[in-house]
């Protein structure tokens, strides 16, 4: 009886705009679709992984109630957008050890409906006065976008990376969005379009920044044995690890290097794989620079060579390493924390269900989440088959 962990069901809630759903109903809808996808019932779920955004700090515990779950295993680790990647290692261990039989991962948010589009360029709303570490950032007009811009400038100054090379990331992801009928933006882009879009914070243009949307995702992890007689081909979790280097941007040790250098090595070691084995990557692309740093830190090219690697077209449809085949957060869907969606898209590709966006002969996928401000990086390696 194999207790090796497999992903058997995936589901997405309505996106990118869904004013008829609140965050809990995004979770409920994505969960129902993931159950329908694999043929399991809500009663089969005995483990639950969910993370709450600071804007909805009790999302995870309330979601348990809304869904009517009674989990005997629970993980609510919050690391920002990489939360799912940080929860998977423990979920995998729980499945292997019999602490849980079937674990539901779910995230959902009505972010666009609730907050509008100012996520990246807004400051915090401070009523009672600022205290703590943000005293050293907020009075200077720091926003999420400026934090990533500081990293982009550093990479350009250190390695000669060009705005055109960052723009190429947005162009490639948009091409995939054009193949996703639900993606928020689907019109083809050129590098010139990206460079001509309004500058938000040098060197990041509007089209270097992700969309703000509503949306949710769920996936179901169980044992290989249990997965055998379900509706879909089970997808194996071959490696899963997380690492961090800081939380606030002012404490980032090197603005061109993330903790993905550590999480990726751990995940590759577990899987017995190298970067060149991977067929597709699903990367957190909150900004174009996010994807570039993850690319280098996961060893797909040397540190500093990401710009040239991207320029060579590897990440495009038909390239050697297609990235964000659903249109990513740059063009399709970003509702606050996207780590769960990186997994659902990797699974769709490994099943061969990618439609027009299908990566040929796709057997190994790597998903990398980025949480906070390039702070918490999680790596998950999935395989069509056990190795």
């Amino acid at each position: 009886m194999s207790r090796e962990p497999v992903i058997v069901g995936i589901g997405l809630s309505d996106y990118p705009k869904a004013p008829h759903l609140d965050s809990f109903m995004h979770i409920a809808q994505a969960t129902q679709r993931a159950l329908e996808d694999c043929g399991l019932e809500l009663e089969d779920i005995d483990g639950f992984a969910c993370a709450s955004m600071p804007t909805e700090p009790e999302l995870h515990v309330e979601a348990v109630e809304h869904l009517g779950l009674s989990p005997r295993w629970l993980n609510t680790t919050y690391t920002g957008g990489s939360a799912a990647q940080f929860q998977i290692p423990d979920a995998v261990a729980a499945i292997r050890e019999g602490r849980a039989e079937t674990i539901l991962f779910a995230y959902g948010s009505d972010f666009l409906t609730r907050h509008g589009r100012t996520l990246g360029t807004g400051g915090l709303s401070i009523d009672s006065g600022l205290s703590g570490p943000l005293l050293y950032e907020q009075p200077y007009g720091s926003t999420i976008a400026t934090c990533y811009a500081l990293a982009a400038t550093h990479h350009m100054a250190t390695y000669g990376t060009l705005p055109e090379q960052l723009a190429e990331i947005a162009v490639g992801v948009r091409e995939f969005a054009g193949l996703n009928p639900k993606a928020m933006y689907r019109e083809p882009l050129t590098v010139e379009d990206v460079l001509a879009s309004p500058m938000i914070a040098d060197p990041l243009h509007l089209l270097d920044c992700c969309v703000v949307s509503d949306g949710g995702a769920a996936f179901i992890l169980t044992t290989e044995e249990r997965g055998r007689d379900l509706k879909q081909h089970p997808i194996h979790v071959l490696g899963a690890a997380g690492a961090n280097s800081h939380w606030h941007i002012h404490s980032m040790p090197d603005f061109s290097t993330t903790a993905g250098t550590i999480s990726s090595q751990d995940a590759y070691r577990q899987a017995g794989l190298q970067p060149e084995d991977i067929d597709t990557i699903q990367f957190y692309d909150s900004f174009t620079i996010t994807a570039l740093l993850l690319l280098e830190d996961h060893g797909f090219c040397a540190k500093g060579e990401g710009g040239g690697f991207i320029e060579d077209g590897h990440l495009r449809k038909g390239g050697s390493l297609p990235m964000n085949t659903d249109g990513g957060s740059l063009s399709s869907c970003h509702s606050g924390m996207r780590g769960t969606m990186l997994i659902t898209e990797a699974v769709r590709q490994l099943r061969g269900h990618g439609g027009d966006a299908q990566v040929p002969d796709c057997e190994l996928a790597l998903a990398a989440g980025c949480g906070g401000l390039l702070s918490y990086i999680g790596t998950t390696i999935l395989g069509k088959d056990r190795r």
Partner: protein
């Protein structure tokens, strides 16, 4: 360092705790200070109640107030006042030789020529009677 009082602090309401308050009080007296541990010589910024390396209560040391731009951005769009009216402005990380990295705005600078490695000096902007916010500007070549 110079303390500038434009009499119109409107950036964010500041409510620092006692340790953080020392930093902003020093800035209002023209001093840029960081913590240095008397036991293990660890320097730390932002300030904390204890030295996180050894647990000792850290001392404060005054720095030269001069440093270099580690990285920067020119902020062109901002969703919150007063920053939305200050754009474009420079937001940078500044490294000082005493071993600390600060976020700060660089003022009195040409946003077209600002660059990594540029030498800058601290000055401070008055918040209220007792506190000021360190800011930075290019070192005038003598």
């Amino acid at each position: 360092m110079e303390v500038v009082d434009d009499g119109m602090w409107n950036r964010v309401p500041m409510a620092p705790g006692p340790i953080d308050r020392k930093y902003f009080e020093a800035a209002s007296q023209g001093k840029l200070i960081i913590q240095k541990c008397r036991r293990c010589e660890n320097t730390q910024f932002p300030p904390k109640m204890l030295c996180v390396s050894c647990g000792e209560e850290p001392d404060w040391v005054e720095t030269s107030g001069e440093g270099k731009i580690y990285t920067f951005t020119v902020v062109r769009r901002h969703g919150v006042e007063p920053f939305s009216t200050l754009v474009p402005f420079v937001l940078a990380m500044i490294d000082i030789p005493e071993g600390a990295r600060f976020m700060g705005n660089i003022t009195e600078i040409d946003i077209e020529t600002v660059h990594v490695g540029q030498k800058v000096e601290a000055y401070s902007l008055r918040i209220d009677e007792t506190m000021a916010l360190p800011l930075w500007r290019p070192i005038q070549s003598s």
